[in-house]
Amino acid sequence: MTETAAETECLLTGIGGQGVQLCAQVLARGAVIEGKHVMLFGVYAGAMRGMNTDATLVIGDGPLLSPPLLSHTGSAIAMHDKFWRPIASKLRDDALILVNDATFETPLDTDRHRVVRVPATDRATALGHAMGGSMVMAGAYAAIAGVVSLDALIAGMRESIPSYRTQHIEANVVTLTDGFTWGNEQLAPIGAGA
């Protein structure tokens, strides 16, 4: 019972209204569709804007052993730096960090961590979907962390949208794809940049 499988840990953070929970959902459901073992826990203070919204995501090839709250993480996604502090303290060395370029100002230790500044909001806005930053981010993370394929990601997104929000699906396909493609483009440089 103590044999461990490869487990990808990811902590997500942002402020209410940025779509952090949807981002985590899409990645989690995408992974499940690919037959992975997944554990996800989201914490958010209601529908209020400006409040914190966080999520813990663990993806593995075999049954997961770790409890659903992480003390350490191998990767993180930050749509905003307002509630970044608690996560910073949990990053393992060499952790992969994706931050939303437009809203993340806190300086990061690029020597210790693999930092990727994703122009999520900007690209989404450019695509005419101002609210789609978190989908761009999901696409980029999936590609860079290499945990979920684009198809699975899109299928996962469809599952994640509640019946009364279906109008957003098409826009999300666009933003997810854009993020995923952008992410793939970054892969080479990151490998080198370390």
């Binding site: 209601g46 529908a47 209020m48 019946s163 009364y164």
Partner: protein, 284 residues
């Protein structure tokens, strides 16, 4: 850009608020009702006698922001708590603030028994037809066809039953002295609802018996609609069933049906008044 020659109309904030900030959702109707009863208390000069008893719902956060001596009750229990307060402090002005989930679901019998006993307290119902706090589920006042978290295609009478028109039930209890149903779907309604609060508090002060003011409030979050659509959606759904008006005045009972016509008329007058250049609350 303010204008020195101009006089201020009303206050930006009700005097009885300790802070302007609150965590209510955008477009929530509850703060509008809050303004109404707080200003009513001040304008009636009842400030230093007012004791509030709060139920559990989104409005519970007002318990901390109102500058009112307050007892925080459990979900549904406010009318009994208010009874204990009033029996021990008969000269104070005691009011409860409850939602439809609190009053018409969990605590239905509390408010009815309190009314039947003719307790000299005022119960205020903020009726949005959903449990806002817990995510917008249907309550005992949700009207047929209303969108709620567990009836996204609208409440279905066959499976969920029919809404309770609480005001009609209370009006028929002999212990009830004044019963009215207001709304905050537009400025006129807000102003008229404030007058209802005043009549209720005045009747309580004259020890005429139990007084009750229901207020329809928007809950865009619980209805899963844009904030902007809140007032009209409310008017066309809740407002069509829980019709605005006075259900009992000086012992005379009028059913919600009877109110319908009268209500239309009043609303009209109100708009004209607005067009003429606004309402002056101090004239009644």
């Amino acid at each position: 850009m303010t204008n020195v020659e101009m006089r201020q109309v009303g206050n930006k904030l009700p005097e009885l608020l300790l802070t302007q900030e609150h965590h209510m959702c955008p477009g929530c109707g509850e703060p509008l009702a809050l303004r109404g009863y707080l200003e009513a208390i001040t304008e009636l000069g009842m400030t230093s006698r007012a004791i509030g008893v709060a139920g559990i719902g989104c409005y519970t956060s007002f318990s901390m922001t109102m500058d009112v001596d307050l007892v925080q009750a459990l979900h549904g229990r406010a009318p009994s708590v208010a009874t204990g307060v009033k029996r021990m402090r008969p000269d104070s002005i005691v009011f409860t603030v409850q939602g439809d989930g609190d009053m018409v679901n969990e605590g239905l019998q509390e408010v009815l028994h309190t009314a039947a006993r003719g307790e000299n307290v005022t119960c205020i119902l903020l009726n949005n037809g959903v449990f806002g706090e817990t995510g917008g589920h249907m309550t005992a006042t949700s009207v047929i066809g209303q969108r709620t978290k567990n009836s996204l295609e609208g409440r279905d009478a066959a499976y969920h039953g029919y809404p309770i028109l609480i005001g009609d039930l209370i009006a028929r209890l002999e212990g009830a002295a004044y019963v009215a149903r207001g709304s905050v779907h537009n400025a006129g309604a807000v102003a008229r609802t404030k007058r209802m609060f005043k009549r209720a508090f005045q009747a309580q002060d004259r020890k005429q018996g139990f007084t009750f003011v229901e207020v329809l409030t928007m809950c865009p979050t619980g209805w899963f609609i844009p904030t902007l659509e809140g007032p009209d959606y409310m008017n066309e759904t809740l407002g069509e069933v829980h019709v605005m008006g006075e259900l009992k005045v000086d012992g005379v009972v009028r059913s919600t049906d009877e109110l319908h016509d009268e209500n239309v008329r009043k609303a009209l007058e109100m708009e004209q008044a607005l067009a003429r250049g606004g309402i002056d609350d101090h004239h009644d």
